[in-house]
């Protein structure tokens, strides 16, 4: 499994990200870094404790990362949640959380798989 296949598996735009970051090395570095990013967990925790302000910031950051790394699918779902929170439509945001979570874990799963295949 190469990095492009990994991107395809979780719905990202590899060509685009490569166009911007130039080197596969760089892309890989950042994708690995994404595994350690806390934004998603901050978001989940804030939603649970109804800290919607904080949740918005976290999901917004997640959205920014997605843009930087061209995680198109996760960008979509995080964008929707961001908009819902901006409009104070919390029910809608909660409704969309499973999708966001799925997209997020798909990335994590794919990247880990890719990482493992590299290390082997």
């Amino acid at each position: 499994m190469n990095l492009k296949e990994c991107y395809i598996s979780f719905g990202g735009d590899y060509d685009e990200v490569l166009g911007r970051l130039r080197r596969e090395q760089t892309v890989q570095k950042f994708v690995y870094k994404f595994l350690d990013d806390k934004s998603f967990f901050q978001f989940e925790a804030s939603m649970k404790s109804r800290g919607y302000e904080e949740a918005l910031r976290a999901v917004h950051t997640l959205k920014g990362i997605c843009q930087n790394l061209s995680f198109s699918r996760l960008y979509e779902s995080s964008s929707l949640v961001t908009n819902a929170l901006k409009e104070n439509d919390y029910d809608k945001a909660i409704e969309m959380m499973p999708q966001l979570s799925e997209d997020y874990h798909q990335i994590i799963h794919s990247v880990e798989e890719y990482k493992n295949s590299k290390e082997e």
Partner: protein, 852 residues
């Protein structure tokens, strides 16, 4: 004149009947007044007569009682004193005593011969002894007036009695007397305060008792003469005669007598115990005064009531008259209107039949020609083209007429739909281009800050209005004139959901006279025939326009001056359409706009700013070339150039050629034009024009036209990128997410930039504040950060006391790339906005702009 003739008989009738009523009421009231006063006079006279005869009766009764009483006393004397007393002296003493006791002042015996022997008091003698003595001799009781020896008037009461007289003979009667005052006092005959006064006369007319009021002396003298002569010819006519006969026959009499021009009422009655006659006189003046006062009052009241009735009558009449007159005027006005409208309609029909016939003839004629030359393809094509034109014209005419009849029957309704103002205006401009071109007129279109393009409106009708106004403008503007269409918007007073849109059509054509301006919305009117005899149309355009604008609840205002031009302003409050408007954001290119119209430049620059583009503008092609070259030398080329086709001096195509010659083919050059560009398209392409943008320059027009250059632009830049050197520059990057920070740092490190990380807005502010002057060259600012957002941080930085506080470039870097967000960034004091994902080329270009 007709009106006057018509109105006159009615007026005459009204005036005559009014005068008639006036006269009639005056006559009726006067007759009534006179009749009433006559009646009351008669009534008063009757009352006076009744009153007087009653009074006379009463006085006569009174007289009867008084005289009767005295007679009884004298009888009493006779009854107590016997006549057969032989002692004469003793008898006389007895009589005197009795007489004194009974209050008589005189006592005498009367002999048959009429000799009076006074027994007591002064000697007395009746004024007219003969009838007195005669009556005594016949044994009657008689009263008479006489005088005593001192000349005092007395009243004598004589009763038959046979006392012996001094000479021994028997007397015929005893006569006792009292002073005359006795009667007058008793009868109150001399009271001056009385309404009436009295005389007592004898049958011969001489006075027994005469009142001090002697105004009737003449009358009584005449009466005496009449009675003496017995002839019956008299001055007072029958009155004295009647009175005389009544007097003789001792009858009652009542009548009126005029003395010294004043009427008097006379009433006579005979008195008992004597031949006397009581005459009561009442001056009429007393009655007359009362009656006159009464009748005067009645007259005044009558006149007053007459006057008041007349006044009311006049008021009613004049009111009725004015109502009638205004009704007649209205009627006349309505008639005039109807006549005018029917005249306008027949005129219109005459015009229309001509107007319809012209294209119809063309169609028929051209069809014939085409048939004749059916093999000549060119000729047929030409004919068909002309037929198409004529049919279109004909269709236009018929549509107008149909619209007008719909409007007149109230059937024109609006079909409100969601439309794009841009599409409507573009469509209108497209349709107008051939007409404008045919007359070689300049056509400027200004779209000022129209942010709301999607609205609820009837696009067909709006189209119709705009087309009508614009075609009027071209129609009435001579060749080479200029026509301007401007659009702008402002907040609507109708509320948040509405937008007020102003549309202005301006020309410098022949204009209209103020008189015509007044009738401009009338159906079937057309600007004066002499100046525009060639112009064709139904004359319904403005009436339809006005109606549609009214139906859309808009307003239309026309300013016009002969030979100066016309300006039509439309104002509508359109409901905003709730479409999720596409977020129109383009990379922050630098652009150059070239147009000789400064207003257009400014509005275009503003519109470009809202989609994230920074642009410069110049007014002429020469300046544009200069500026482009200048920027090229600095290594900061414009990325896109917008060129107006029509420019003073060099036109757009020439400018493009020049730029291409100097700088090569890299940067896109777009031609903006309000005209149909198909004609010069080839020439323009050859000159190196990449594309065309049609005016009006709406936001979406610009966005869609420019978007296609986004990709080529990026590619172009990538090749340019390598020679950019930003080494040694120090940039402060505020970003709360480590990953994002690393991405940015990774990207920027390639450029040789030294990056400093601030984890949030607060840290960024602190770091900047602590830095020495010129330490940082720029700040990249994320927006959503904990503790302090990018907006707040920027505001704070711009506000602190630091030499670079105002000058340091701050570039927003955010995942939010809506135009609202960009606007907000600029408002907070940031210089530019770059959307995530961070595009290194884009970022480099921006940095280059601010750092070099």
């Amino acid at each position: 004149m007709k009106i006057r003739k018509k109105r006159d008989p009615a007026m005459q009738f009204l005036i005559f009947s009014f005068i008639g009523v006036l006269l009639f009421s005056i006559v009726v009231f006067s007759v009534l007044g006179i009749y009433m006063s006559q009646k009351s006079k008669n009534a008063i006279t009757e009352i006076g007569e009744i009153y007087m005869s009653g009074m006379n009766q009463q006085i006569s009764g009174h007289f009867d009682t008084v005289i009767g009483l005295r007679f009884d006393q004298v009888k009493g004397i006779i009854s107590v004193v016997p006549t057969d007393n032989t002692d004469r002296e003793q008898l006389y003493e007895e009589l005197i005593y009795r007489a004194k006791v009974r209050g008589f002042d005189y006592l005498a015996l009367c002999s048959e011969e009429g000799v009076f022997e006074t027994l007591y008091g002064a000697s007395i003698q009746p004024g007219n002894p003969a009838p007195f003595v005669e009556a005594l001799a016949q044994g009657e009781q008689r009263v008479a007036v006489g005088v005593d020896s001192t000349g005092k008037e007395v009243v004598l009461f004589g009763i038959d009695a046979s006392y012996p007289m001094r000479d021994g003979s028997k007397c015929t009667g005893l006569v006792a007397a009292v002073p005359l005052e006795y009667i007058t006092d008793f009868l109150a005959l001399q009271d001056e305060n009385q309404l009436m006064y009295y005389h007592i006369i004898r049958p011969d007319g001489s006075f027994v008792i005469q009142n001090r009021n002697m105004e009737l002396a003449g009358f009584f003298e005449q009466l005496q003469e009449q009675l003496q002569s017995e002839s019956g010819n008299s001055l007072q006519g029958t009155l004295i005669e009647e009175f005389g006969s009544a007097l003789k026959n001792h009858k009652k009499y009542s009548g009126t007598l005029e003395v010294d021009g004043e009427k008097r009422h006379i009433c006579g009655i005979s008195l008992p115990y004597s031949e006397w006659y009581l005459v009561a006189v009442m001056p009429y003046s007393v009655l007359d005064d009362t009656i006159n006062r009464l009748s005067n009052q009645r007259m005044i009241l009558t006149l007053l009531s007459c006057a008041s009735i007349l006044v009311i009558l006049t008021l009613v009449f004049s009111r009725y008259f004015s109502i009638t007159r205004s009704q007649m005027l209205e009627l006349e006005e309505a008639r005039q209107k109807a006549v005018e409208s029917s005249k306008a309609k027949s005129e219109f029909l005459a015009n229309m039949s001509h107007d319809i016939r012209t294209p119809m003839n063309a169609i028929v004629g051209m069809t014939a020609i085409a048939t004749a030359h059916i093999d000549d393809q060119k000729q047929v094509q030409n004919c068909l083209r002309k037929i198409t034109l004529s049919s279109k014209h004909l269709l236009g005419l018929i549509n107008d007429v149909l619209d007008m009849s719909k409007i007149e029957s109230g059937k024109l309704t609006l079909t409100t739909e969601q439309i794009s103002l841009k599409e409507v205006v573009e469509g209108v401009v497209n349709i107008m281009q051939p007409q404008v071109k045919a007359k070689r007129q300049t056509f400027d279109i200004h779209v000022e800050n129209i942010l709301t393009e999607n609205i609820w409106c009837d696009s067909v009708r709006l189209n119709q209005v705009l087309l009508n106004l614009l075609s009027n403008a071209t129609k009435y503007t001579p060749e080479g004139g200029s026509i301007q269409l401007s659009l702008s918007e402002e907040k609507s007073p109708k509320g948040e959901n509405y937008i007020r849109t102003h549309i202005k059509v301006k020309d410098n054509g022949i204009g209209m006279s103020p008189d015509f301006l007044k009738r401009i919305y009338e159906s079937y009117s057309r600007a004066d025939g002499v100046r525009v005899s060639k112009t064709q149309g139904t004359g319904l355009g403005m009436a339809i326009t006005k109606y549609i604008v009214d139906a859309m609840e808009g307003s239309i205002d026309i300013k016009s001056e002969i030979d100066k031009g016309t300006e039509v302003s439309l104002t509508f409050d359109f409901e905003k359409a709730v479409v999720l408007e596409m977020d129109m954001v383009l990379p922050s290119w630098s652009m150059l706009v070239v147009d000789d119209d400064e207003l257009l430049c400014r509005t275009a620059i503003n519109t470009l700013k809202t989609i994230g583009i920074n642009a410069d503008w110049v007014l002429s092609g020469e300046k544009a070339i200069e500026l482009v070259t200048q920027h090229h030398k600095k290594g900061d080329d414009y990325q896109i150039i917008l060129l107006d086709w029509k420019l003073p001096g060099m036109n757009g195509i020439q400018v493009a050629k020049e730029i291409r010659r100097n700088l090569g083919d890299e940067m896109p050059i777009l031609l903006i034009s309000a005209y149909d560009y198909s004609e010069f398209e080839e020439e323009a392409r050859e000159a190196g024009i990449n594309g065309f943008i049609s005016k009006p320059l709406f936001k979406s027009t610009l966005y869609h036209a420019l978007r296609q250059y986004m990709d080529t632009q990026t590619e172009n830049d990538q090749t340019l990128n390598s020679n950019i050197d930003l080494s040694g520059r120090r940039i402060l990057l505020a970003e709360d997410n480590e990953l994002n920070w690393e991405v940015a740092s990774e990207l920027l490190s390639d450029l040789g930039v030294e990056l400093d990380w601030a984890e949030d807005g607060q840290i960024c502010l602190d770091k900047f504040q602590k830095s020495s002057a010129g330490h940082y060259d720029a700040i990249l600012m994320d927006i959503r950060m904990p503790h302090m957002t990018g907006y707040e941080a920027t505001k704070a930085i711009r506000g602190i006391n630091h030499p670079d506080a105002l000058s340091i470039p701050i570039i927003a870097m955010s995942a939010d790339a809506f135009s609202d967000d960009i606007q907000h960034c600029l408002e907070c004091g940031m210089n530019a906005h770059i959307a995530k994902p961070i595009d290194v080329i884009e970022l480099t270009r921006l940095l280059k702009r601010y750092l070099i």
